[in-house]
Amino acid sequence: TAGLNLGLRVLAHLERLETQMSRSCKNLEDPPRETAESDLGTKIHKLRCLRDKLRAEVKQRQARIKASTANAEPDQTLEISEQEAVGGKEENMKAILQAYRFTGLSGKRTSRGVCVCISTAFEGNLLDSYFVDLVIQKPLRIHHHSVPVFIPLEEISAKYLQTNIQHFLFCLCEYLNAYAGRKYQADQLQRDFAAFLAGPLQRNSLCNLLSFTYKVEPQGRSFPFCARLLYKDLTTTLPTDVTITYQGTDASSTSWEEQRASHENLFFTKPLYQVFTSFARNGERLDMSLVS
C-alpha cells in the first residue's frame, strides 16, 4: 500500500504538471523559445513514461490485493508450497517402500503418514517383525514403534531421519536384522545343542556377548572349552572377537591347542549352529572310524 500511495501521489503531481503545462501553453501568445520548449518536452516525455510505468504497477498491485483478500488465509502461497513438499515426501516414501518390499520392508498409509514394517530374517528363516509409525510433518517424527529399547533407534533417527529417510530405514533394517540373527543363533544353540553346553548360555539383551562352556564329543563327560564371543559391530551376525580357552586336564597339549585354534576360526566364520553341527558330525566320524 505504501507503493500504491507513492504511485498515486506521483500521478497527481503529473496531472498538475500537465494542467499547468496546458494552461501555460494557452496563456503564452508568443511561441516558446526552442531550447526551453525542448527542455520541457523531454521533461514531459520522461514524466509521461514514469506515469505509464507507475500506472501499470498500481494496476498490478491492485489486482494482487484483490486476489489475496478474496482468499481467507494471507499466507496461502506459502502453505501451498509446503503441502507440495509434504506430498512430494509421501510420493518418495511410497516409491522407496515399493522398491524395498523384497528386503523385508513394507508399509501402509495412515491418516498421519506411513507405518513402516520391518520383517527380519536369518538364513531363510522368517523372524520377528517390528513397526515404526511415522508422522509426515516438518520435522518428520516417529509416533509409535515396537523397536526394542536396546536398539539405538534414537541415535539412528538423530543421524538420518530428517535428512535421508532412505538411509534411516536401511540402517534400522540392518540393526534389527543383525539383532534378530544373533538372537536366533543363541536361541538355537541353547535349544538344539544343549547337550554340548555345560549349563545355560550367558547372554545379554542385544545378544552381542555370548559366554559358554562346551564340549565337542556328545558322550564326553567334561566340558573342556570356554568360549567368549563379542559382537562389537551391531550390524553383523558373526562375532568380531572370539576367545576360546582350553580348561581341560589332559596332558597332551598340542592336539588340544590345535583344536582350540581351529574352533576359534570356526566361530569367526560360521553361524553358531553350523559350528556345533560340524562338532556333532566330527564326533560321528570319529565313532565310525572306531567301529571300522
Binding site: H145, F150, Q202, N204, L206, N208, S211
Partner: protein, 280 residues
C-alpha cells in the same frame, strides 16, 4: 544353620499363601522334589512351616539361600511393592555396550561392599536378559536388616532400572552409584514415574505399544446417562490391567468428551505418572 537365618526362612515361608506353596518351593529348587514329597502339605500351615524349616536346617540353608527364597516370593508378589523408575544415561559417542551379566553383578556388589561392610546382595536372573537384585542394608555397626530389603530390576543394555520403594533414603545415592557404574552409564536420575505394576512401567519406558486402530463409535443412545436434566455427579475409580490404553479409548468409544485431560494423556509421552497438583 544360624538362628537368624532359620527365623528369616520361617517368616518368609509363612508369608507364602498355601495355593502358591508348591510352586514357589519348586522355583526355589533348594529342597529337592523327593524330599518335598515326604512333607504333609495338608496339615496346618504353622506345622507345615515347621517341617519345611527342619528340612532346610538338615540341608544347611545359608543366608544366600534364604535371600533367594525372598526374591522369588517378591517376584510372585511384585504388586505388594511400589516401584520407582531410574533413568541412566551415557556420554554421547560411546563404544558399543558389551554388557556382561557376571561382570555387572560382581561390579555392583563390589561398589556396595566398598562403601558398606554390612550389606547382603543377592541376584536372580530373570527372563528377557534381566536381573533381580536384592539388597539388605546394614550400618557400620549393625548387621543387615533382612526384613526391609530393597529390590532392583534391571534389563541389560537399557537405561532404566526399577527399584522398590525404600524407607532408608540415605542409601539411595550409593545404590544409584553402584547401578550406574556397574552398567557402564554416567548419570542417573529418578523419573516421576511410580506404580505397583512393573509391567505398566515397562510398557511406558520401553515404549512397547501394540499396533491399535481406534474407531469412533457414535451410536450411544439411551441408557442411564442419556437425556438427563441434571448432570450426574459421582466419583469414578478406574482400574484395569492396561489403564492407560483403556482411558485412551474412552473418547473414541463416545464415553468421554475429547480431548481427555492432558494429565491422563501425557503419561506415555512424558514418562510420568506422578503429578503434584496444587491450588493456584
Amino acid at each position: 544353620m544360624d538362628e537368624t537365618v532359620a527365623e528369616f526362612i520361617k517368616r518368609t515361608i509363612l508369608k507364602i499363601p498355601m495355593t502358591e506353596m508348591m510352586t514357589i518351593l519348586k522355583a526355589w529348587d533348594f529342597l529337592p522334589e523327593n524330599q518335598l514329597q515326604t512333607v504333609n502339605f495338608r496339615q496346618r500351615k504353622e506345622s507345615l512351616v515347621q517341617d519345611l524349616v527342619l528340612l532346610c536346617e538338615s540341608k544347611r540353608a545359608s543366608l544366600r539361600d534364604a535371600a533367594l527364597l525372598d526374591i522369588i516370593y517378591t517376584q510372585f508378589h511384585q504388586h505388594q511393592k511400589v516401584w520407582d523408575v531410574f533413568q541412566m544415561s551415557k556420554e554421547p559417542g560411546e563404544d558399543v555396550d558389551l554388557f556382561d551379566m557376571e561382570r555387572f553383578k560382581s561390579s555392583f556388589e563390589k561398589i556396595l561392599r566398598r562403601a558398606l561392610k554390612n550389606v547382603t546382595v543377592s541376584f536372580r536372573d530373570a527372563e528377557e536378559n534381566a536381573v533381580w537384585i536384592r539388597i539388605a542394608w546394614g550400618t557400620q555397626y549393625r548387621k543387615p536388616n533382612q526384613y526391609k530389603p530393597v529390590y532392583v530390576v534391571y534389563y541389560s543394555q537399557t537405561p532404566y532400572a526399577f527399584t522398590s520403594f525404600c524407607h532408608l533414603k540415605s542409601n539411595t545415592p550409593l545404590l544409584s552409584q553402584a547401578l550406574t557404574v556397574a552398567s557402564n552409564h554416567h548419570k542417573i536420575v529418578k523419573m516421576d514415574l511410580r506404580s505397583r505394576y512393573l509391567d505398566s512401567l515397562k510398557a511406558i519406558v520401553f515404549k512397547q505399544y501394540n499396533q491399535l486402530e481406534t474407531k469412533f463409535r457414535s451410536d450411544f443412545h439411551g441408557g442411564i446417562l442419556a437425556e438427563r436434566k441434571e448432570p450426574l455427579r459421582c466419583l469414578i475409580k478406574f482400574s484395569s490391567p492396561h489403564l492407560l490404553e483403556a482411558l485412551k479409548s474412552l473418547a473414541p468409544a463416545g464415553i468421554a468428551d475429547a480431548p481427555l485431560s492432558p494429565l491422563l494423556t501425557c503419561i506415555p509421552n512424558k514418562g510420568m505418572n506422578y503429578f503434584k497438583i496444587r491450588d493456584k
